[in-house]
């Protein structure tokens, strides 16, 4: 009964899809020979794909509905697993040891190519954690985050070019300049929320990129800046391999530092204020929290990480140009935060690793990256609206013994 119904609906969907894709999939005008090709085979393929896609999707949804009705105890959710591991001391120590072992042995076990991919993934981890402050904690939808990344990268490149400033000096400078630009953006958008904020920040990101692209005298335009030195280690001359490994460990250190700081911030007076701001802006102010100050700290602290990420990015690639800082970067970083789990540190880390490493290893699909991102986002929002590892906030618990 239900099956025949499903088949009927799926058939309908298939026909509908064939009709929709008819103009692009079937008809092809060959402009050279001036003839029209009819590719009926494509139509058949679309029909079959549509039918099975729809059929599978439907059964999936039905199962999900069933699952929601009576929460299936057999399905182990990732979040529960993570909680179980972090809850149990022995398990969590073991997990930490395994992760640490992997992290340390990674550069010695894998090729240079792999290490480089891992480094960019780690940079995205850092960016994701930074954006998480703005989007996940303070609830401010920022689509121009890449601007601060660009600012950091260009700060190092230009400071080095003009004044010969080295990586280690540029890193804190990048952080400060990032924070400064964060406030610069934050100030005019203090009154904006939600979609409006997203649009304005997106514009800000594009403005920065356009400036870098067109102000040749300042940034050398689209041709970018080359010969940016890699990070130095007490003036040692390092081979490419050595220096890549060095950057790898530097990045591991930076990520740990970021996690430490973000975690502390999250569970502090300021972190509480961010969450309250996200929950209800008016009540938040009425309870004595300075909205402007709280928002600006969120923007500034988020941008700090992007600024430092930019410096490291410039040092890693030794060449930067505006093409590395398009709106898509912002979107990817936002995807990392949303997919990983807004407000959740473990979630953002795994989100970054999944979203950056997967496309690298699935080179065959790299052209469809955005498409795959889109599909994953939609599917995730349906099945796991909280992200891969949703935020299980460590709330302030009151225990009587504390007296």
């Amino acid at each position: 009964m239900i099956l025949s119904e499903e088949i009927k609906k799926s058939l309908l969907a298939a026909v509908w899809f064939m009709f929709l894709t008819f103009p692009i999939m079937v008809i092809r005008v060959n402009t050279v020979q001036n003839i029209v090709e009819w590719r009926w085979k494509n139509m058949l393929l679309v029909g079959i794909a549509g039918f099975f896609g729809s059929f599978l999707g439907r059964s999936f949804f039905r199962q999900k509905e069933k699952g929601e009705k009576k929460a299936d105890p057999n399905t182990i959710s990732v979040a529960a697993l993570v909680q179980k591991i972090t809850g149990n001391q022995r398990l969590s120590r073991l997990a930490l040891a395994v992760i640490a072992g992997f992290v340390i042995s990674f550069p010695f076990a894998f090729s240079l190519y792999q290490i480089n991919i891992m480094i960019s993934a780690l940079i995205y981890v850092m960016l994701g954690l930074g954006l998480n402050i703005v989007v996940g904690l303070a609830g401010l939808l920022d689509l121009g985050y890449v601007a601060f990344y660009a600012v950091g990268a260009y700060a190092y490149a230009l400071l080095n070019h003009h004044f010969g400033i080295g990586f280690w000096t540029a890193l804190p400078i990048g952080a400060v300049i990032g924070a400064f630009f964060g406030i610069l953006l934050g100030y005019p958008v203090l009154r904006l929320r939600g979609d409006y904020l997203a649009i304005v920040t997106m514009g800000f990101g594009e403005i920065i990129r356009l400036i870098l692209e067109n102000w040749n005298a300042f940034s050398r335009g689209p041709s970018g800046i080359a010969h940016i030195p890699r990070p130095a280690l007490f003036g040692w001359e390092m081979s490419l391999e050595m220096s890549t490994k060095y950057i790898y460990f530097l990045m591991i250190g930076m990520v740990l530092f970021t996690i430490f700081v973000v975690n502390r911030l999250q569970h502090s007076r300021i972190g509480r204020a961010w969450i309250a701001l996200r929950e209800d802006e008016i009540a938040c102010q009425a309870m004595g929290i300075d909205k402007a100050k709280t928002k600006l700290t969120a923007f500034a602290l988020g941008a700090t990480w992007a600024g430092m990420g930019g410096v490291i990015f410039a040092a890693k690639t030794t060449f930067i140009n505006p093409a590395s800082f398009t709106i898509w970067e912002s979107v990817i970083i936002l995807c990392i935060v949303v997919l990983g789990g807004m407000g959740s540190i473990v979630g953002v880390v795994s989100g970054a690793l999944v979203l950056i490493l997967l496309p690298e290893y699935l080179r065959a699909f790299s052209e469809y990256r955005m498409l795959v991102f889109g599909v994953i986002l939609v599917v995730m929002m349906i099945f796991r609206p909280g992200g891969i590892i949703p935020d299980v906030r460590r709330t302030y618990q009151f225990r009587k013994e504390e007296h």
């Binding site: 700081v261 502390r264 911030l265 502090s268 007076r269 300021i270 972190g271 509480r272 204020a273 969450i275 309250a276 929950e279 209800d280 008016i282 009540a283 938040c284 102010q285 009425a286 309870m287 004595g288 929290i289 300075d290 909205k291 700290t297 602290l301 709330t395 302030y396 618990q397 009151f398 504390e402 007296h403």
Partner: protein, 262 residues
């Protein structure tokens, strides 16, 4: 003695609509004062004006915090006014739904704490002490208000009456000298209203906090208040002790068509 809150000639225009029209109102130390009036009279607008959410078009709002001199607070930001010692609740409950009851109250403590970014990152001894104090102080407030049993629950999971009381607890945590309650009894059953009545009196008597409340429940207003102000269409139409208000023909006329019984 100076009134702790003195509002003079306050007007608020929304475009062409005059929501408050040259309103005068004052609250003395230790008083429970009620502000009543038919729906749309402008009571909530009045609260929004004196707590900095709106900037009034005209008039003066003067406060005299204990051990302090008179201060004009027109146009100050809401958080500054809260810091000066006026805390409020909202007619349509505005808790932080996804924070726990304890955290909601801790947000109220925010303006009395001082840890900054560096403090949060390094968590030195002073900051840790401060956080511990914030937790125990917040818990103490919850105990006073009778919400201790819910301490670790999410605010959104609280029963309605408890949510209303949590708003009061959160406001109390800011250590106000004047508490502004916007329809605290709305949606409460008679027993909850009775408890609220006792709670408000207790806050005034033991915490020495003065109270200005907006309320439609006339029984509660009449039994609680020392003085009552009545508004209609943004204007003050009467003021006085409960007994005088009850028999005031102007007030009865303003409430005509609505229930006015006490």
């Amino acid at each position: 003695m100076e009134p702790i809150l003195a509002v003079k000639n306050l007007s608020m225009n929304f475009g062409g609509l005059r929501a408050l029209d040259r309103l005068d109102l004052d609250v003395n130390q230790g008083e429970i004062v009620a502000l009543i009036g038919p729906n749309g009279a402008g009571k909530t607008t009045f609260f929004n004006c004196i707590t900095g959410i709106y900037t009034p078009t005209e008039g003066d709002i003067l406060i005299t915090p204990p051990r302090n001199s008179v201060q004009r607070i027109n146009g100050l930001k809401p958080n500054t006014i809260t810091e000066l010692g006026m805390a409020r609740t909202f007619q349509n409950i505005r808790l932080f739904p996804k924070m726990t009851v304890l955290e909601n109250v801790m947000i109220g403590r925010h303006c009395r704490l001082s840890a900054g970014i560096l403090g949060a990152v390094f968590q030195g001894k002073k900051v840790r002490k401060e956080e511990e104090r914030a937790v125990t102080d917040s818990y103490a407030v919850l105990e006073k208000i009778g919400l201790a049993q819910f301490v670790n629950d999410l605010a959104m999971n609280l029963p309605y009456g408890a949510q209303r009381r949590l708003e009061i607890a959160r406001a109390l945590a800011t250590e106000p000298f004047l508490l502004l309650l916007d329809e605290p009894a709305a949606g409460m059953n008679p027993q909850e209203t009775q408890e609220l009545n006792e709670l408000i009196v207790r806050i005034r008597d033991t915490e020495k906090i003065s109270i200005l409340l907006i309320e439609h429940d006339m029984k509660l207003v009449m039994s609680l208040s020392d003085r009552i102000f009545v508004m209609d269409y943004g204007k003050k139409i009467a003021q006085g002790a409960p007994r005088e208000i009850k028999s005031n023909p102007v007030v009865i006329k303003a409430y005509l068509g609505e229930e006015f019984h006490a």
